[in-house]
């Protein structure tokens, strides 16, 4: 299971990376915005994407749209972990095809639940 973590703050990437490691996911890579993440996804055989929304360069929602528009990536499970908390934004992400949405600040338990739920659905 190879996971890409996209966030412009290195501390947040590190927190997510540590939490994922606790959940048994040790194979992770990092990118600081959509523009660097997209080529990594296209060439890197990732199984899961965790992305922030608000980033310089390409935002998380645009990255999600690019992923869904790419024939080889469109089935990639995407979890959004973001401080963006407007209802319209959550609806926008849902319509763009997000698989899960976690608002910051979040707990390890919430992250675990959402990831497990996504895999349950993907595997069923």
């Amino acid at each position: 299971m190879k996971i890409l973590i996209v966030d412009d703050f290195s501390t947040m990437r590190r927190i997510i990376k540590n939490l994922l490691r606790d959940l048994g996911f040790t194979n992770t890579a990092e990118a600081d915005d959509g523009t660097t993440a997209l080529p990594m996804l296209q060439s890197g055989a990732f199984d899961f994407l965790v992305t922030d929304w608000n980033m310089p360069g390409m935002s998380g929602i645009d990255l999600l749209r690019h992923v869904r528009a790419d024939d080889r990536l469109k089935h990639l499970p995407v979890l959004m972990v973001t401080a963006e908390a407007k209802r319209d934004q959550i609806i926008e992400a849902a319509q763009a095809g997000v698989n899960g949405y976690v608002v910051k600040p979040f707990t390890a338990q919430v992250l675990k639940e959402k990831i497990e739920k996504i895999f349950e659905r993907v595997n069923s």
């Binding site: 703050f9 290195s10 501390t11 590190r14 927190i15 540590n18 929304w53 608000n54 980033m55 935002s59 998380g60 929602i61 645009d62 973001t82 401080a83 963006e84 908390a85 407007k86 209802r87 319209d88 934004q89 959550i90 609806i91 926008e92 849902a94 949405y101 976690v102 608002v103 910051k104 979040f106 919430v110």
Partner: protein, 262 residues
């Protein structure tokens, strides 16, 4: 403020008075008088306009001086207050990032120690149970005693180490005091800049009235709305609990998503 109102009041009363006189002169066919009145009107308007533009310019100048925006001004001894505020905020970002990383370093150093102590304790506890149930021989007991001894020495040393890390984590929180002070100063500056801008806006509106300029406020608002497009992101919501259009936490997000069929 009062002075401004009175100068505008003067202009308006002159305007009214002269307008009536103007109509009267025109009706009487006194065109020379009419032209003279128009000239006087123009002069009053210009005087008011120059006065207001002058005030606006002076205020703008003192704002520039106050905030030391212009680096060429003699008053700008080191850096402008705005540059200074920007630097202060960068310092906050740097300090908080450093503290977060320091804390995570210490947690990452402590976790394997605790995990390994826990694993060893579990294994020893199982073997100790066997010993209590007299299930092990003398040779095995000597080995167990040696392991217990090693474990005790190691746990003393490593729990001490972890306690040190916990203490360092505590100390790493000292950024709160420093960043709090910096942010308070910057907030103060923002408030000052805001009230000065407001003053300038009020003065500019006087100029607008003398010059008869009207702004298309609706178009300005639409332009601003477009800039605030959703996909740009807004960052954390500060008053999430008071706003209807914002979720107040993960439970709200989950409810919203499940209402959408997730």
């Amino acid at each position: 403020m009062e002075h401004k109102d009175s100068s505008l009041g003067d202009f308006e009363s002159t305007l009214k008075k002269h307008a009536q006189e103007l109509v009267a002169s025109l009706e009487k066919g006194k065109f020379g008088d009419a032209v003279q009145l128009i000239h006087e009107l123009n002069q009053t308007r210009d005087r008011g306009l120059y006065q207001e533009v002058g005030k606006l310019t002076r205020e703008l100048h003192s704002a520039i001086v106050n905030f030391q925006i212009d680096p060429h001004m003699p008053q700008a001894e080191e850096v402008s207050q705005i540059t200074d505020a920007t630097e202060r905020l960068s310092y906050v970002v740097r300090l908080t990032e450093g503290a977060a990383n320091r804390t995570m370093d210490l947690v990452e150093q402590s976790t394997p120690l605790m995990n390994s102590l826990s694993t060893d304790a579990k294994a020893l506890s199982a073997d100790w149970g066997r010993f209590m149930r007299r299930e092990i021989g003398a040779e095995e007991f000597r080995e167990l005693a040696r392991r217990v001894d090693g474990f005790l020495t190691r746990s003393e040393k490593e729990t001490h180490e972890v306690a040190g890390h916990l203490n360092d984590i505590l100390l790493a929180q000292d950024y709160q005091d420093l960043t709090g002070q910096v942010i308070k100063r910057v907030t103060q500056l923002v408030t000052e800049v805001e009230s000065n801008l407001l003053k300038l806006v009020l003065m500019a509106s006087q100029v607008d009235r003398f010059a008869g300029i009207e702004h298309d406020r609706e178009a300005m608002l639409t332009e601003k709305d477009q800039e605030k497009h959703l996909s740009q992101g807004e960052g954390p919501q500060i008053h999430a609990d008071k706003r209807e259009d914002v979720v107040s936490g993960q439970d709200d997000v989950d409810d919203l998503l499940s209402s959408l069929g997730f």
